[in-house]
């Protein structure tokens, strides 16, 4: 193995409690929003049966009712979408609310890296 004698990071990363608290509350907002959507859709699938006969009696492909299609495929696609949206949004929020714009990027006098 190579020797681990790097000079160490040029500037220690550091978060202040106020910044962390802000990111925390924003992330909580993101999580609660997505949980609301998740719960709503998950509850709607069985509950629609009572409200809408078509949901479980109608036929989409062959003998598949809309509810069956939703339970067999749709829900998984939905879970994946919710997770992807929540994860990318949370990561983006953290990236923007904690730490600075990449200090280790080469710092010429060129235009800002947008």
């Amino acid at each position: 193995m190579h020797d681990r004698h790097d000079p160490g990071p040029p500037a220690e990363e550091h978060d202040t409690p106020a910044e962390v608290d802000a990111a925390f509350r924003t992330l909580r907002r993101v999580a609660l929003g997505h949980v609301a959507v998740f719960t709503g859709v998950l509850a709607a699938v069985p509950l629609l049966t009572g409200a809408l006969a078509w949901w479980s009696q109608g036929r989409l492909f062959g003998g598949m009712s809309p509810m069956f299609a939703m339970t067999a495929f749709g829900l998984y696609a939905f879970f994946f979408t919710v997770c992807l949206a929540a994860a990318t949004l949370s990561n983006a929020v953290e990236e923007r609310m904690l730490g600075g714009p990449g200090r280790d990027a080469p710092r010429g006098d060129g235009p800002p890296a947008a």
Partner: protein, 429 residues
């Protein structure tokens, strides 16, 4: 703003198409119309409300410029009104603008050639004879007359045009001056090959429209200059006291806490790097927020527990475009005039929200500090300024006005000992 609505409309159309397909075509007993419409309306509402969060989420790293420019160009009309609308000269009398104007005008003037010159050279030439009349050539000799007298010049004989090429088809010319309000800056020249003259009224009318555009461009440029000057003033104004105080704080900690000293120095360099490198008048809120955080942590190093801060930020607001160097001065005011006068200190709250329905960004900077006396508040509201006011609100208000016109709101409420609340609302875009 508009480039966000188009995809939304597309998505909604897709949604209804999919709804129709699933509920009416694929399903064996189709779903009742009323229920379908109800579900569709519900989904549409959810989509419209949720759309900005999806749009303003993690994306928007890439640029979506250049689309509007293309749109402009594609809107070629064949009427004079189209020339008036498309305004290719709105950024001044440039070669590119002139070329587009000439191309726009040439088909309107049957069979004629169109040239646009500045005070010396041809900027653009379109129509017969374009083979040897190029942009960059010296303008035809009669141009000087039109420029010096500021009046339209009619040239009835080809010889007077002074074209060295013997095969030049141009016979007559009408040369009308272009002004930007005060000075004559160039000419519009309409040539014909058949010996007749283009009606003078038409050429002068067109020159009038173009002159109006040029005047607007000039006006814009001056306004931009004024705003730039204000921004530059603000950048230069970064309070020297702040730098001294911060450096003193850092120096005092150098012996006791080298780690914190290092962090503070990094933050200080971040602070100045941001001020120096920020270009243009807008930045993403996330960048401005970074600047505010940097500033606040430096102040906290100095004041310790006396300055507390609480950020309350919408996830969607982070990518919203906000004017640069507006929020930090507001926070600085809150700390300097609100908290540091109080012995026990206080809390500054920065709250940022996006309202997707009215498409506004609202930013609130509140403190529970000393508050502003009523007479001073009135003076500030009237835009007066005295030395010692620091990052004057008048500067901020002035810049906002020149960026947004009437489309922003800046409210200050304050009560003595009850703290100050500054509310800023700007259009989301």
């Amino acid at each position: 703003m508009s480039n966000g609505s188009l995809p939304l409309a597309g998505v909604i159309a897709l949604l209804w198409g999919a709804m129709y397909l699933v509920t009416q075509v694929l399903a064996a007993p189709p779903l009742g119309t009323g229920t379908t419409v109800l579900i569709g309306a519900g989904l549409t509402t959810a989509l419209v409300v949720g759309y900005p969060s999806a749009l303003r989420g993690p994306r928007s790293k890439g640029r979506t410029r250049s689309a509007p420019a293309r749109l402009q160009q594609g809107r070629h009309g064949t009427t004079i009104a189209a020339v008036g609308r498309s305004m290719p000269l709105r950024s001044g009398l440039t070669a590119d603008g002139a070329r587009r104007t000439a191309q726009l005008l040439q088909p309107l003037l049957s069979g004629a050639a169109v040239a646009i010159t500045d005070r010396e050279r041809v900027l653009a030439f379109a129509g017969p004879g374009a083979g040897h009349h190029r942009s960059g050539d010296a303008a035809a000799p009669p141009t000087a007359g039109a420029l010096s007298r500021g009046k339209t010049v009619l040239v009835r004989r080809g010889g007077e045009l002074g074209c060295p090429a013997p095969e030049c088809p141009l016979r007559t010319a009408v040369i009308a001056p272009l002004t930007d309000g005060k000075r004559t800056v160039g000419t519009l020249q309409v040539f014909r090959c058949d010996g007749a003259l283009t009606p003078r009224g038409v050429v002068e009318g067109l020159a009038g429209i173009l002159s109006l555009h040029l005047e607007l461009a000039e006006l814009n440029r001056r306004q931009r200059l004024a705003v730039d000057a204000k921004l530059d003033a603000l950048r230069a104004q970064i309070n020297p006291h702040f730098l001294f105080n911060t450096l003193n704080t850092i120096a005092s900690k150098a012996h006791t806490d080298p780690e914190e000293t290092r962090q503070l120095l990094v933050r200080l360099s971040d602070f100045f790097r941001y001020v120096v490198r920020q270009e243009g008048h807008f930045a993403k809120f996330g960048q401005e927020y970074f600047f505010v955080r940097t500033y606040v942590s430096l102040e906290q190093a100095r004041y310790g527990e006396r300055v507390r801060v609480r950020y309350d930020i919408d996830p969607q607001v982070l990518t919203a475009r906000v004017p640069v160097l507006i929020i930090q001065p507001l926070v600085e005011n809150a700390i300097k005039h609100g908290l540091t006068d109080k012995v026990e200190g206080g809390t500054v709250t920065l709250k940022a929200r996006v309202d997707p329905l009215t498409r506004t960004t609202s930013i609130r900077v509140a403190d529970d500090g000393a508050g502003i006396p009523a007479d001073v508040l009135e003076r500030i509201s009237n835009g007066e300024r005295r030395p010692g006011d620091g990052q004057g609100l008048s500067n901020i208000a002035g810049r906002l006005a020149s960026l947004y016109g009437e489309r922003y709101r800046l409210d200050i409420r304050s009560s003595e000992d009850g703290g100050t609340v500054v509310d800023l609302q700007t259009p989301l875009g």
